[in-house]
């Protein structure tokens, strides 16, 4: 296959075998960086899911939060009174407004003294959802019922029909399902009235904390009139402090690892290409085109990167699957394949820096005793 490309791999492949120690070393470095990036990506994905998976299930084009006078919007402190809700309901272009309450509290199975941190969602029964929505499916019919996410049920050790205690009141588990989390706590869904009472018992106002709004309104204008801010579900996540700090620091580490990867690969191939500058001059003197030599060099870098990234990726999937049983770790194309592609692209970019030695090599130096 490669032979059809002329010099590509004919020389590069033989150099890989000849200097296998050096290439194994750089391949191992690439594999280790891939493992690090993959693990950080998987962990970031897992932590992100434990922060936001329930928020992303809220049925609205925009999520509306209170806009404080002197600080940024926050899911934890937002409180929207009835006037604000009505202002959004009556705004031009708004099709539906679902008042949602979110508050963190504790819950325990009845007759036990082993509370578990949970996120209480107050959702109306009529909340519209496009397609299957694990959050809305947990909405109970009765103020004395609750729906539990799978992890909440596991943590509490309860099944459908069991009774749990939340802020001193008993509720019957009416439904269990969905991998739903909010700020690292599993989700329990209540009716709006039951949630309002629970919110007040833990020091809240009992008013909705976020509105899930659908429609095509003048979001900024309505927001300015009501001291609120309307964001898409994804952009609203910055109002989750834990998410912002975790993802910010982990994301920075991933970006730095990408940069290190490009630098390491670039430095290796720069030194390697400088070492073989004499050979490149000879090849040019014999009639090799600069283009074919560039392809040869990039092909060599690609082989090293593909092998290193492949090994690293296999390790990420294998170890990540094991880690997922004990850690919030996500093995998905987004946390494995995408970082691998970015690594390959940046690695090739790093290798491309070394090409100057190839393009500038003077075949004249092959003559005489210049080498």
């Amino acid at each position: 296959m490669f032979e059809r490309k002329g010099i590509i791999v004919f020389v590069a492949w033989r150099e890989l075998r000849f200097a296998r120690g050096r290439f194994l070393l750089i391949g191992a470095v690439v594999a280790l960086i891939t493992l690090l990036v993959g693990f950080l990506s998987g962990l970031t994905g897992g932590l992100a899911a434990q922060n936001i998976s329930s928020v992303l299930q809220l049925p609205g084009d925009r999520l509306v939060l209170q806009q404080p006078d002197n600080s940024d919007p926050s899911f934890a402190t937002s409180s929207l009174d009835e006037d604000t809700v009505q202002a959004w309901v009556q705004a031009d272009g708004v099709e539906s407004v679902i008042p949602v309450g979110i508050v963190q509290s504790r819950a325990s199975a009845r007759d036990t003294d082993d509370p578990t941190g949970v996120a209480l969602y107050g959702l109306p029964q009529e909340a519209p959802a496009i397609g299957p929505n694990p959050l809305c499916e947990l909405t109970p019919d009765s103020d004395t019922d609750v729906g539990l996410s799978s992890d909440a049920a596991d943590d509490l050790g309860v099944e459908v029909g069991d009774t749990i205690s939340i802020t001193g009141h008993d509720f019957t588990v009416a439904a269990i399902g969905g991998d739903l989390w909010y700020s690292h706590t599993p989700v329990i869904v209540m009716t709006p009235d039951a949630w309002s009472e629970a919110s007040q018992r833990v020091g809240g106002t009992g008013e909705a904390t976020v509105l899930a709004v659908t429609g095509d309104a003048d979001w900024e204008a309505v927001g300015a009139d009501t001291d609120t801010v309307a964001e898409t579900p994804l952009t609203s996540l910055t109002a989750l402090e834990a998410f912002q700090s975790e993802i910010g620091s982990l994301g920075l580490m991933i970006v730095m690892l990408f940069g290190i990867s490009a630098l390491v690969v670039g430095a290796f191939f720069t030194v390697w290409t400088m070492q073989r500058a004499g050979d490149i001059a000879v090849l040019k003197a014999l009639g090799a085109t600069t283009g074919s030599l560039v392809r040869d060099s990039l092909g060599q870098a690609f082989i090293v990167l593909a092998a290193g990234i492949g090994v690293g990726l296999a390790a990420v999937v294998g170890l990540g699957t094991l880690a997922g049983q004990a850690l919030p770790f996500v093995v998905s194309p987004l946390t494995t394949f995408v970082p691998a592609v970015v690594m390959a692209v940046l690695g090739l970019a790093g290798a491309a820096f070394a090409l100057r030695s190839v393009t500038k090599a003077d075949p004249l130096t092959a003559l005489g005793s210049n080498r």
């Binding site: 010099i7 033989r14 090849l283 003197a285 085109t289 004249l364 003559l367």
Partner: protein, 238 residues
């Protein structure tokens, strides 16, 4: 055939220019080895560089080929000059300049793959000649060895085979015996002469060592960039 016609080559040196090749006219016919000798710095390697299209002369022509397809290599673009070297010129370097990662056989096979294109015809033609040439230079049993596993003479023989494996019309040889003892040097010179005659190649050979002059058909001497004896080829000083 290769013919340098009134070639002049200068190099910048501060505000001045140094004349490395001064109005040189030189002809190498098919089937002959033309030696170019002279003291160090006389310009003989510069003549070879111009002949190899590695550097463009300030003036003059470098004619390569036969009457039916004669081209002036001095007028070619870089791309065309590269193609000319690949297709019609063979070069044997002073230090053999073999690629360390390639075996002796692969050094020759490389010549079929330099273009980066997919000329199967060219590759097939060259590949069929590899074994024949390895045999011709006496290296069949060393074909799978890399340069560091070969002696200096063996390396130079591989370089000679590499220089002619693609059947060039012109073979340019730069000090092929400088790193060899006298006995090995004589072997290399005889090999070059034999292959030149057998394959009807026009060979220009730069050497400062006239111990092996018997292998040459013509010999010119270069001093200060000028040919002093004789004015053109065909007058071997023996």
């Amino acid at each position: 055939m290769i013919e340098l016609q009134n070639v002049t080559l200068t190099f910048p040196d501060g505000d001045n220019h140094i004349t490395a090749v001064d109005d040189v006219t030189l002809r190498g016919d098919n089937g002959t080895v033309t030696g170019i000798t002279g003291p160090s710095g006389s310009g003989k390697s510069s003549i070879l560089a111009v002949a190899a299209t590695l550097i463009r002369p300030d003036s003059g022509g470098v004619l390569i080929g036969n009457e039916s397809d004669l081209i002036d290599a001095a007028q070619l673009s870089k791309t065309d000059a590269t193609e000319l070297r690949r297709e019609r010129i063979g070069i044997v370097f002073q230090q053999s300049n073999l690629l360390p990662a390639l075996t002796a056989r692969e050094q020759l096979q490389l010549m079929a793959r330099l273009g980066g294109g997919s000329s199967r015809h060219r590759r097939g033609r060259i590949d069929t000649r590899v074994e024949e040439l390895l045999d011709a230079v006496g290296l069949t049993e060393h074909a799978d060895k890399r340069p560091h596993q070969l002696s200096g003479g063996q390396r130079q023989r591989v370089a000679i085979a590499r220089g002619i494996v693609h059947e060039p019309e012109v073979l340019l040889v730069d000090e092929p015996t400088s790193a060899l003892d006298q006995e090995r040097g004589a072997e290399i010179m005889q090999l070059l002469a034999r292959l030149t005659h057998e394959r009807d190649t026009a060979t220009l050979l730069v050497t400062h060592d006239l111990v092996h002059r018997d292998a040459l058909d013509d010999l010119v001497t270069v001093i200060d960039g000028r040919i002093t004896t004789p004015a053109a080829g065909h007058a071997l000083t023996r």
